[in-house]
């Protein structure tokens, strides 16, 4: 027998003709499956968000206070610092290109110090963020570098945490000075004829921080009364 028998008609089960799957039909069906997954996992994320938002908020606040505590001792004021602020519009003198808050420390209602941010735009690799506390007397309580991308091991000594010199870190040499004791002409690194040290091989980082903190100090001295007078929570103009 050379011819192959065709399969008997009866053994093929009757399959109801599937409706031709249109592109639209397939898309909708698949999209529904995807949607189910999206809804399920979004719910899980939302639940996590709900249960972490409290601790995250708390630790952000704590971190902020700890950072401020580095420039202004927590015992030197008695108001709720994080609630007593004014908004500062972008200020070129401080190197700021966006809105920042200035916090106002008070003791028994009397002004104690301003805690403000500033930035140096002329660092070795980009912006260097600073946090300063300036007492009403015009004295710089302390300054800290809050963000930078200076070369690790070379220019990053401006950051207290990265400074290898632990007994007398570079950034602390500014503490307790004011612009009367150190005139703006002297508020420079030694290489530029000023009085502040720089470390070999990384003058640019030091110069940027020194000049920016000097500028910020001058700004604070000039604007102190205006900042303290403004109502809390308002935008300074």
């Amino acid at each position: 027998m050379t011819e192959i028998d065709p399969a008997p008609e009866s053994t093929i089960p009757e399959i109801p003709a599937l409706p031709e799957r249109s592109i639209l039909g397939v898309s909708v069906r698949t999209a529904m499956v995807l949607l189910v997954f999206v809804v399920a996992f979004t719910t899980v994320m939302a639940l996590t968000y709900q249960s972490t938002i409290g601790p995250i908020e708390a630790s952000t606040q704590k971190e902020k206070l700890a950072l401020i505590g580095e420039v202004l001792p927590a015992g030197s004021y008695d108001n709720t610092l994080l609630d007593d602020w004014v908004e500062l519009p972008p200020t070129a003198a401080l190197g700021l290109t966006d809105v920042r808050r200035i916090y106002r420390a008070r003791q028994g209602g009397a002004p104690v110090a301003l805690v403000l941010e500033a930035a140096a735009t002329d660092g070795y690799s980009g912006r260097i963020g600073l946090l300063l506390a300036v007492r009403v007397s015009g004295e710089l309580a302390a300054v800290r570098v809050t963000e930078h991308r200076e070369t690790p091991g070379l220019g990053d000594y401006i950051d207290l945490k990265k400074d290898k010199q632990k007994t007398r870190p570079w950034i602390t040499q500014f503490s307790g000075l004011n612009l009367d004791a150190v005139t703006p002409a002297k508020w420079r690194v030694k290489k530029d004829g000023g009085r502040f040290e720089q470390r070999a091989g990384a003058t640019i980082s030091a110069r940027a921080v020194t000049n920016a903190s000097g500028r910020a100090l001058a700004w604070a001295k000039l604007n102190r009364d205006r900042v303290f007078a403004a109502a809390s929570g308002t935008r300074l103009n």
């Binding site: 997954f37 996992f41 996590t48």
Partner: protein
């Protein structure tokens, strides 16, 4: 049981992500500049990989084959978001350091690779073990890489440990006046040290193979000898 052992051995050594598969090198190179950073990111990856393998494996019968990749990515991205939030809330100081790198776990191809190659085809238990073992393999390489780079670069170990354990402190290994060797900490150092680690592992393997082969030859020879006598 032996299967579990095999999966674990595969992940931690034989198919090691960092040294053999060479997948997920982005965090490997960026975050291995100290032991603490390396192990921190490694452990976050362990969490994500164990969970993503677990979820995908458990849901594998519900996931249509044709759209599995978008769903895998959705699952991985959600889990990374959850780990990100959880770390921010409960391990905040470590999060400050690793923060920007945790979202990168989403793009770490090893996570998707194990989901696709293993979890989509295997039962829940085996998949979870696979994810954990693969990530642990990555973690020890990250830790070792971090240790070598940190030691050469700064002369100390465990810098930043106080972020995880407040009472602990970095250990200064080399004398205090060690000037540091900057390049070890910078990105090129990651490539150099990783290259050396891969070479070391290959050498280790080659030696083990050779020993096995010479042993085989030895056995064969002694068998011949005994047949001759």
């Amino acid at each position: 049981m032996s299967q579990i052992r095999e999966i674990t051995w595969n992940g931690v050594w034989k198919q090691n992500t960092g040294l053999i598969q060479l997948l997920g090198l982005c965090p490997l190179l960026a975050m291995s500049n100290s032991v603490v950073n390396g192990i921190g990111l490694g452990l976050a990856t362990v969490l994500v990989m164990a969970l993503s393998n677990l979820f995908v494996s458990a849901l594998r019968s519900l996931i249509p084959y044709e759209v599995r990749i978008p769903i895998f990515i959705l699952i991985i991205a959600s889990l990374v978001t959850i780990v990100d939030l959880a770390m921010n809330a409960w391990l905040h100081s470590l999060y400050v350091v690793l923060g920007i790198f945790i979202p990168l776990i989403v793009t770490n191809c090893i996570v998707l690779a194990r989901v696709e190659a293993f979890a989509a085809k295997n039962p829940v238990m085996a998949s979870t073990v696979d994810g954990t073992a693969m990530a642990l393999g990555l973690t020890w390489v990250l830790g070792l890489l971090g240790a070598i780079r940190e030691l050469i670069g700064t002369g100390s170990l465990f810098a930043g440990i106080e972020m995880v354990i407040p009472s602990a402190q970095a250990i200064v290994i080399l004398p205090e006046d060690y000037p540091g060797f900057l390049i070890a900490i910078l990105p090129p150092g990651a490539f150099f040290v990783l290259g050396l680690l891969i070479a070391a592992r290959n050498w280790f393997d080659a030696r083990a193979n050779q020993r096995a082969r010479s042993q085989r030859i030895h056995v064969a020879q002694s068998a011949q000898q005994s047949a001759a006598t």
